[in-house]
């Protein structure tokens, strides 16, 4: 059975109509830009990967990965409140995020890595370099 599925994230969908300025009397016709399409299949999500194409993935790569690998994020299964607390803590610890970036990161994390997603899949492997005593010299 193919367990893969696709998640589409349409950015800007949350923009409320009352926030928009009054339209100009004669708006020139313009082509609608295609919204960014973010894709990830379920197996990749369960294996701890980040979605491709999301602006938040770029933030994770630029900020979170200064100190730690992405699995630190992708193995969590948290609600929005707990994600906000975690990202606030990371900002105190030096993550250089604007308020807007932090808010969008909280929504992004809570969307993918919440309690509805099953636990991560793991495979055993060898110890990392430095886990065993050095050979006598």
């Amino acid at each position: 059975m193919n367990r893969a599925f696709c998640i589409l994230l349409v950015l800007g969908a949350a923009c409320r109509s009352e926030d928009k300025p009054a339209p100009a009397p004669t708006p020139p016709p313009q082509p609608t830009p295609a919204p960014p399409v973010v894709t990830i299949d379920r197996d990749a999500l369960l294996a701890g990967k980040l979605p491709d194409g999301a602006p938040e993935t770029e933030i994770v790569n630029a900020q979170c990965r200064i100190c730690h690998s992405v699995e630190y994020l992708t193995q969590q299964r948290l609600g929005e409140g707990a994600w906000k607390k975690t990202i606030d803590k990371m900002r105190k610890f030096g993550a250089n995020l604007s308020d807007e970036q932090a808010a969008s990161l909280v929504a992004f994390a809570a969307k993918y890595w919440n309690a509805d997603l099953p636990g991560r899949t793991w495979s055993p492997g060898p110890p990392p370099a430095g886990a065993l005593p050095a050979a006598p010299k």
Binding site: C67, H68, L78, A82, R120, P126, P128, G130, A134
Partner: protein, 365 residues
């Protein structure tokens, strides 16, 4: 033993088998042991879990241990000086505070350890009390603060600083260990020296131990004042706990775990030997009970003859398994009368998980 330069950049040779550690995070390195690790009393080094807050320190050629604060003679010790002192060996379980965090409901943030962030080793080194005696502890001293050579990546991130009360520091079993299972400590386990605080949670077992500071007041810093704290009165699952209700963790709690079977296993009908480990903080294991019918009836497991103050107690139980589905569990009781609970004690950081674990298996003829 001497301090090799950047010993931990050496490549690990190909292991003879696929390995027995799950990589929970590659950086910093956090690895937990596979379940079948818990079928021996002493945990082999190649299977021993690894827990790091930050990248492991690499500039260790000039390593010295500094002892300062409320002492008559502040001083430093080189590795050669520590090796010349009288060495002691203590068998003790090292367990990460967050072992089992990934099993809490609701889920909590942090490395999602399940059952493998624990191990039992023979630790060899000098007594911390002998080092303190060499420096002369002042009368008003109450606490010993410790810090390792590791550094956070960013300057805003708090350093990992911990501490223990002077009474625990002066206990004859509290060591500055240089060896683990007879081998020099590996880089990931704190080479060249780490604190060993038998019976206490792993957050106090400072690796790459660089500074010992004797103080009158409690240690300072995020990881002591905020992190690694446990509620004095546990609340409802998911609820926050006010900071003034949190206190530093000390002792480990009673726990047992099967190593020979895992949830979802298919086993053969007939005689199966169930094997696992049990331990407690500052008490010994008195008994381990086994159920093969989901908790309706319990039978005592046979405890291994090797008993120690702080180590794993191996246990075995021969189960004559009949075909069908079965729910198996083990439950330890320690010499202080503490019994593993049915549900874990809720705390916001997911520490000290020790609930009885129900393992479902299918028995086939």
């Amino acid at each position: 033993m001497r301090v090799p330069k950047l010993a931990w950049s050496d490549e690990v040779p190909d292991p003879p088998d696929p390995g027995h550690l799950y990589e929970l995070t590659s950086r910093p390195a956090n690895y937990e042991s596979t379940r079948d690790t818990f079928t021996t009393r002493i945990t082999p080094l190649e299977r021993f879990y690894i827990r790091n807050h930050f990248d492991i320190p690499t500039e260790m050629a000039d390593w010295k241990l500094e002892l300062k604060g409320l002492v008559a003679k502040p001083r430093t010790f080189t590795l050669a000086e520590l090796e010349k002192m009288k060495q002691y060996t203590v068998e003790a379980v090292l367990q990460c505070a967050g072992n089992g965090r990934g099993l809490f409901v609701p889920r909590v943030a942090g490395v999602q350890w399940r059952w493998g962030a624990m191990g039992n080793a023979e630790w060899t080194g000098v007594r911390l009390k002998d080092l303190l005696a060499a420096a002369g502890v002042a009368k008003d001293a109450q606490h010993v603060q410790v810090q390792g050579a590791e550094k956070p990546t960013l300057p805003q991130t708090p350093a990992f600083i911990r501490g223990i009360p002077l009474a625990k520091a002066m206990h004859p079993d509290t060591l500055v260990a240089l060896r683990m299972n007879g081998q020099p400590l590996s880089p990931h386990h704190g080479f060249p020296a780490r604190l060993v605080v038998p019976g206490w949670v792993g957050d106090d077992w400072m690796k790459w131990l660089a500074t010992i500071e004797v103080r009158a007041d409690e240690p300072k810093g995020f990881f002591y004042e905020t992190g690694y704290r446990f509620p004095q009165t546990p609340g409802k699952p998911g609820e926050a706990v006010p900071p003034d209700q949190m206190k530093p963790m000390t002792k480990l709690v009673v726990k047992s775990q099967l190593g020979s079977i895992s949830d979802g296993d298919v086993i053969k009908a007939g005689k199966n030997e169930l094997v696992g480990v049990a331990f407690s903080g500052e008490a010994r294991i008195k008994k381990v009970d086994v159920t093969v019918d989901g908790g309706t009836t319990w039978q005592p497991a046979k405890l291994d003859s090797h008993d120690s103050n702080y180590g794993f107690r191996l246990f075995r139980y021969t189960w004559d398994a009949k075909p069908g589905k079965a729910t198996v569990a083990v439950r330890a009781t320690d010499s202080a009368g503490a019994v593993q609970p049915t549900t874990p004690v809720w705390n916001p950081s997911g520490y000290l998980y020790n609930a009885v674990e129900m393992i479902s298996v299918e028995v086939r003829s």
